[in-house]
Symmetry: C2
Subunit: 96 residues, 2 copies
DNA sequence: CCACTATATAGGAAATCTACTATATAGCGG
DNA sequence: CCGCTATATAGTAGATTTCCTATATAGTGG
């Protein structure tokens, strides 16, 4: 069965800015939203929208710290997706 | 560095019909295009368009056998993506 | 409370995606 | 060559994505 959650995670990752955000978050425990605005060449509201997509896909969680909001990566959905794709890549497909 | 090839693979996978096609192909060495048309509830040209997306992402290859065209899965890009996402899920991020 | 910083939301334009119908192309069998 | 099946392409409508500017909301410090 093709999980709609899995599709949502794939869609969330399938954008250069969002995958870039995930990559940065993978390397550090927590990053403030404003750091992403500096890193990528898009406006602050655009970054905010991308972060929302990642949040709704369950890939990140937030924590307010004073004025700023810190994002951290949820590694479980990434690991689950990696495991599933890995299984497909070695031939274990179509498990209903 | 965020590879644009990787983004293309993610985008190709991020659709229920295309992921379904990949799942079916993962379970069998080769499947005729017409079998997909039976399997999914979309028209033949729509299936053909989805197969084109998968082809252009390097996820499948084709072989003509008489009138029909057989699709098979390229497992390398899937394995590469799985490995990359797996690395992210255990903290190895941002390798420039 | 006011000004300031950080972040999110609203509204809208342009680009892209997804699906359809109609049609073209490729190979097979008579 | 003709008709048939299998697949791809063209053209197009509608939905979704992506980005922007403008504005709202939330928290901090004077």
């Amino acid at each position: 069965m093709v999980s709609s959650v899995e599709i949502e995670v794939l869609r969330a990752l399938a954008h250069p800015v969002r995958l870039g955000i995930v990559r940065k978050l993978a390397a550090e425990p927590e990053i403030c939203a404003c750091d992403f605005t500096d890193e990528f060449e898009v406006s602050q509201p655009t970054i905010s929208a991308h972060l929302k997509v990642l949040r709704e896909a369950g890939l990140v969680t937030t924590r307010r710290r004073g004025t700023t909001i810190c994002y951290s990566l949820n590694r479980e959905p990434l690991a689950a997706l990696a495991a599933d794709l890995g299984a497909l890549s070695v031939g274990e497909g179509a498990l209903t």
